[in-house]
Subunit: 271 residues, 2 copies
């Protein structure tokens, strides 16, 4: 399906766009099924937070309206929404009155092997570490060279995702997923106040876990937390939940809490 | 002057470009006078290093040739050269065979007040800190949200540049400059192996200082180094050298080594 810029079909963006010049913007990757964007409120909430923290004055009501319109035409696929600060001349200083640009791109739903969800995936242990930047942590902004470098570390199909750590070796996330550990019935995921992307599916699963009475802890996770984990899984807002069956020399089987939250994720993506 | 993509006039870049999607590329900002790019070898050397570290397979001979051609048409101005990894579909994994894109944009030479060079500038002490990422440190890549945030911290014209520190409070650089201190006749500038952009003018001045027998030290600089400095200046490959006359409560006068290197920079930019 054709891309849109500011609600109009377009295939190219002005060279003055600050998204290209500085990665000065944000994005959301949204699963669309039957013409409806999944986890819509979660995506828009994260985008709103990002716009606030980067002081990008986007019209979020218009973004929502366009996204709904785009999704209804896309029917089934992935809608990628990019918001940039707009165009400007050379120089980092944002130009007063710059108009944020709204970009929508459609692509087919990815066809991951069904085994990923059924039997689990192996994670590649990336050497690329995430730098600490509290001002950007949690946001899905357009400065993604760390993910590009990490994703380039493996080419084999044995690893469906990579595990990223921070400079101190703490577990943070996957390259395009968030990470959860289960230990003694309790759910753990990394604190993302210094680095990492706070995924929309991560937020939804945390909320659902709390509602279902599953104990949850968001905290720093040293590498040793993996050795002590009973279950490990990754999630995002496109594929839902994949059990993790191996990282380096460590191995797990898909466990009961993983299966429970996998079902939750499936429901979230289908409604 | 018209922009070029891959040697052809163009005003817009494909929405699939990874420069827009992830900031997956590099840039150089090059002063052009009389149709000739200043510090050409320095810019191309940094670009080559960046391409190597990001594994972007750009044709650097072609980049050089196009830049020279573009500069001769621009005559006097700033040539901004962007190299991106090229186009790809959704996903961080670089596509095998992606063709790096060469983008050239021209703008007029900026008209900074002559007092900046003559009497010096005040630096705004930015609260935005530079995150540590050794894999990207030194490169002029397209992930520049930290600079955007820092530059948005001040709007007054009293401050011509901002001073950026790392998470530990060490002095690193200006938002669009590098920083030098002078103490007892010795020249100091920050080690940029964890963060910062290794400026082309910085490299040229370091080289010229060594050639002229000026002692030079590239090292970690705690904030206290400013209090002990006899002279402070900033530099880049567009304006050359600006003496710094104040940062927060600290004040300096343009000193002899600053004046000497200012003259060196002027010569470098004019030849």
């Amino acid at each position: 399906m054709h891309s849109w810029i500011d609600g109009q079909p377009a295939a190219a963006v002005n060279l003055q766009n600050r998204g290209l010049a500085y990665g000065d913007g944000l994005f959301e990757t949204i699963a669309v099924r039957g013409g409806r964007p999944s986890l819509l409120d979660g995506h828009l909430a994260r985008l709103a937070l990002g716009c606030q923290r980067l002081a990008i004055d986007a019209d979020l009501a218009l973004v929502r309206e366009e996204l709904l319109r785009y999704a209804s035409q896309l029917a089934d696929g992935i809608a990628k929404l990019i918001i940039t600060r707009g165009d400007s001349q050379r120089g980092y200083a944002p130009v007063a009155g710059a108009m944020p640009r709204r970009i929508l791109q459609g692509s087919p739903l990815p066809s991951y092997p069904v085994e990923h969800a059924e039997h689990g995936v192996r994670l590649f242990l990336c050497q690329t570490r995430l730098g600490e930047q509290p001002l950007l942590a949690g946001l899905k902004h357009l400065n993604r060279l760390e993910q590009v470098l990490a994703r380039a570390e493996w080419q084999d199909s044995e690893h469906a995702e990579g595990l990223m750590r921070d400079g101190q070796g703490r577990l943070i996330e996957g390259v395009f997923s968030n990470l959860f550990l289960v230990r003694e019935g309790k759910l753990f995921t990394a604190d993302l106040s210094r680095c990492g992307v706070a995924g929309v599916m991560r937020a939804a699963l945390l909320q659902q876990a709390v509602l279902q009475g599953i104990p949850v802890q968001v905290c720093d996770l040293p590498f040793e937390a993996l050795e002590q984990a009973d279950e490990v899984f990754v999630c995002n807002s496109v594929y839902g939940v994949w059990p993790v069956r191996g990282i380096a020399a460590l191995n797990w089987s898909p466990g009961p809490l993983t299966r429970k939250l996998q079902a939750v994720a499936r429901t979230l993506l289908e409604t």
